[in-house]
């Protein structure tokens, strides 16, 4: 299969999509951006390939086996969860390894034994957490190893130090130091190895539910996927590990991506981790004007991240929590770093958690509104993209504020909205190849 790849190296997350020769999205991958762009891009791409193969599997199961829908879905979700679990355990054992090696440092001479013991307890704790978390029915707090493992790490560490073990700070410091190398290493096992391992984790009943499942899995794993061209975009684009002519500005990519997803798009709002963009596009998806936040990250996605951290809940849970609010609390400061303090203040003042969180969402949207206003207002159709578009409370606030001020809106949000920039980039890759421009892509 011919693959065109778009990679969006965001400030918070790195997204990759794979487009087939017809420009359909066949795979998506996302990972958190990190200090090593190469790795981030590789990991996202790898994830996208994995995702593409799972989609392939899904198609085969649907079209080529007689298995009924319910059973098929059960199999797929189990297999996906088991695959993720497998990857997680791989990373976890690397984390453990790094923690142990780290403790060889002479400055731990005094309490090495205690710390090593704690590591053991913590790892065991995380494994147990993971066991629950990777049930097909479980809703994950986050997609990323750092977040899932980190939260569990903190929980167990707090317990240990409360019980008279090493100081909490010391334990958590261990995580902070060692998560970095883990993130910067890639999974060493191949897709096929991981898939086989995941297959091994399936309950017996499921394993035999489809005749010849192992062969099907092998076929999926062996299907060749050929990377024709990759185009990169995003915050880190000046440092992208790509040849210069395979790089596009994120504004252009977002505009085009939104246009492709919703051809009648006139205005695009993208709220990412550290930046917010308001873009106006014409009928061909060409950007006509735009505004971005400069110099200050107030009111971006990262803000929600800090709040979720503060409450020790997952990003996914934040929106639903806010949706439960019935009152509106007005929040004025959107400085990302102050968010936690403001949250605590308000709690102390007796305000409800969900109302505060709801207010925080509205505050973000209000910030975005001023960028939108500066770029020329909201015109129909209006497409909302970026990570924050996944958040139902942010969407609700956007719709409310938008309609109060600009009348009725056609508000588009694609399930793939976080991939908008990557889709734009992938499409530029296709167009470049079609037009015969651009580099030969060995380098990527």
């Amino acid at each position: 299969m011919e693959c065109y790849i778009g990679i969006d190296l965001g400030s918070t997350t790195t997204k990759a999509v794979i487009l087939d020769a017809e420009g359909r999205i066949v795979g998506r991958g996302i990972t958190n951006s990190r200090s090593n762009y190469d790795v981030a891009a590789q990991v996202a791409k790898q994830e996208a390939y994995t995702n593409a193969r799972f989609e392939m599997l899904s198609r085969i199961l649907r079209d080529e086996t007689g298995v009924d829908k319910e059973e098929r879905e059960s199999l797929e979700s189990h297999l996906t969860a088991a695959y993720a679990h497998e990857c997680f355990l791989g990373q976890l054992s690397r984390l453990e390894q790094h923690c142990r090696t780290d403790l060889d440092n002479p400055r731990f001479d005094d309490d090495r034994r205690e710390l090593l013991q704690s590591v053991e307890v913590i790892m065991q704790g995380i494994r147990e957490h993971a066991h629950r978390n990777f049930q097909p029915s479980a809703t994950a707090r986050s997609d990323f190893f750092r977040d899932i493992a980190g939260a569990a790490f903190i929980d167990v560490a707090a317990e240990i130090s409360r019980g008279g073990g090493p100081a909490f700070d010391k334990l958590v410091g261990m995580f902070d130091r060692n998560i970095i190398p883990v993130e910067n290493e890639q999974e060493t096992r191949s897709f096929s190895e991981l898939l086989t391992a995941a297959y091994g984790r399936l309950p017996d009943g499921l394993r035999s539910s489809v005749a010849g499942l192992p062969d099907t899995l092998k076929a999926v794993a062996d299907t060749p996927m050929e990377e024709v061209r990759t185009v990169g975009t995003g915050y880190g684009r000046v440092r992208l590990p790509f040849p210069k002519d395979c790089i596009r500005s994120e504004i252009l990519c977002h505009g085009l991506g939104a246009h492709l997803m919703f051809p009648a798009t006139a205005t695009v709002l993208d709220i990412g981790g550290q930046d917010t963009k308001a873009i106006q596009v014409d009928a061909q998806g060409v950007v006509t004007s735009f505004q971005m936040n400069d110099r200050c990250a107030a009111g971006c996605g990262r803000y929600l991240g800090y709040i979720a951290d503060e409450m020790n809940i997952g990003l996914h849970e934040l929106g639903p929590l806010a949706m439960a609010s019935k009152r509106r609390v007005k929040i004025n400061s959107t400085c990302t770093v102050f968010a936690g303090a403001e949250f605590r203040d308000r709690l102390a003042a007796g305000q409800e958690r969900e109302d505060i969180v709801n207010g925080l969402h509205r505050a973000i949207i209000l910030r975005a509104m001023s960028l939108l206003a500066r770029s020329g207002g909201i015109k129909n159709e209006f497409t909302f993209t970026g990570g924050v578009a996944k958040n139902p409370a942010a969407v609700r606030a956007l719709r409310e504020v938008g309609e109060e001020n600009y009348g009725e809106l056609i508000l588009n949000i694609a399930p793939d909205s976080i991939y908008t920039g990557a889709v734009g980039a992938g499409t530029f890759a296709m167009r470049d190849v079609a037009a015969g421009v651009g580099a030969n892509q060995e380098a990527a």
Binding site: V286, T288, R374
Partner: protein, 422 residues
């Protein structure tokens, strides 16, 4: 900064300025009195009438900016209690004062014998001289110039200003200088002003040609120098503008583009109208962002802060005091927002510009408050590409070259896109 600009007129101007500062440095020994005052709507001819020497703190601030001194000056002022938020011209001036009041030629500027607070088009002027008054033991005279809020100069406004000039200013200046007001001399000086003004207008309007022989913003700030400052009404100014006009006539005949610090501009790719003052601390770098892209500024509002001569105003020797009043009330910063927009719109069409660009400076509320509405209105009315960048006059902390360059590049691309489409 002017090494590459070798026109005779430039040399001439330099000499004039050097002479002026020379006079200033000798003022005390020569027994000449010094008056500090502001540029917009200034009363140069009136000061000339009493042989007073003007010092323009705004010009000092901008020149300090060009010489890279303002960063320190501003910090010094902030250290003494000035807020980060306020106009940096004021802070640069206060900082310069605190560092010994060394002028652009390296000589110490004389202390003022009078602060002439001609209050035209900006409230900050008022505070500025209230602050200077704390430092110098000298009188302040206020000339309150009412704003053209409703877009016109009413009889009451004119009477008010004329009355102040006649009943307040002239007596004070007479007292200070020990000289009597000489109306005939004023008429003679005003005649010379008008003559120089004719030539200036011709020069500015030469930008209507394609390609334009001048850059009416980056080059323009040099062309307006003498007439906006201390030379109006002098023979020097008349000569300078004749010389300048001759040079431009020459360029026009040869079909040449403007001179930039990096040589003659090759191809005129974009014709732009600019609103707002330039940045001084990175003036050359800023200019380069334009000329290296083939962008020529064909008209600008900043070059009208010292008078809207191209809209027909001339100093009128037949009504000497009235004309000074009209001049004070008529400069660009005293126009209301709707009139500013009309004027810019007219420039865009008259000079056949591809687009307009606003350089919004943090310091100057007088210019900046409302510029985003100007942008939108002009886009709507002219359908041409509008651009918006932000910087500051003399605060190096607010000039982000990468940011501005980025915006300018996308802006020029937008013009290109508009062209290929329609």
């Amino acid at each position: 900064m002017t090494t590459a600009i070798k026109d005779a007129s430039q040399d001439r101007q330099k000499t004039m300025i050097a002479e002026h500062f020379g006079k200033l440095s000798r003022a005390k020994e020569d027994g000449r009195k010094v008056v500090y005052t502001f540029v917009p709507g200034n009363l140069t001819e009136l000061l000339l009438n009493f042989d007073l020497l003007p010092v323009l703190p705004e010009i000092n601030a901008l020149q300090s900016g060009m010489r890279g001194k303002t960063g320190d000056y501003i910090q010094l002022a902030e250290k003494s209690g000035h807020s980060e938020d306020v106009c940096t011209y004021v802070k640069a001036d206060i900082g310069m004062l605190k560092s010994g009041n060394i002028g652009p030629t390296g000589e110490k500027l004389p202390d003022p014998d009078l602060l002439l607070l001609s209050y035209t088009g900006c409230f900050t002027f008022l505070k500025w001289f209230e602050l200077l008054r704390e430092e110098y033991d000298c009188p302040v005279v206020m000339l309150h110039v009412p704003y053209q809020g409703d877009g016109k100069i009413t009889g009451e406004m004119r009477d008010y200003v004329v009355g102040q000039i006649r009943d307040v200013l002239i007596p004070e200046l007479e007292k200070l200088s020990g000289k009597k007001f000489d109306e005939d001399r004023l008429r003679e000086d005003l005649k010379r002003s008008a003559k120089a003004e004719d030539d200036l207008v011709w020069v500015l309007e030469s930008a209507k040609h394609k390609p334009s022989p001048i850059d009416a913003y980056f080059g323009g700030v040099y062309y307006i120098g003498p007439i906006f400052t201390s030379f109006r009404g002098t023979e020097d100014a008349v000569d300078y503008y004749q010389l300048l006009r001759g040079e431009i006539e020459e360029r026009l005949a040869q079909g040449l583009g403007p001179i930039t610090p990096d040589g003659v501009m090759e191809e005129e790719k974009y014709r732009i109208v600019v609103e707002g003052p330039p940045n001084w601390t990175s003036f050359r770098e800023f200019w380069k962002m334009f000329h290296s892209e083939g962008a020529v500024v064909v008209a600008s509002s900043y070059t009208k802060v010292g008078g809207l001569y191209d809209r027909g105003f001339r100093h009128d020797p037949d009504d000497p005091i009235g004309t000074l009043a009209d001049y004070s009330m008529g400069c660009y910063t005293n126009l209301n927002l709707p009139d500013r927009i009309d004027l810019l719109e007219k420039y865009i069409t008259d000079y056949d510009a591809d687009g307009f660009l606003i350089n919004s400076v943090k310091s100057c509320n007088s210019f900046s408050a409302g510029q985003l509405l100007i942008l939108r209105e002009l886009e709507k009315r002219t359908g041409r590409a509008g651009g918006f960048i932000e910087s500051d006059l003399v605060d190096p902390r607010y000039f982000s070259a990468a940011n501005i360059k980025n915006r300018l590049e996308s802006y020029f691309q937008m013009i290109e896109a508009k062209r290929t489409k329609g």
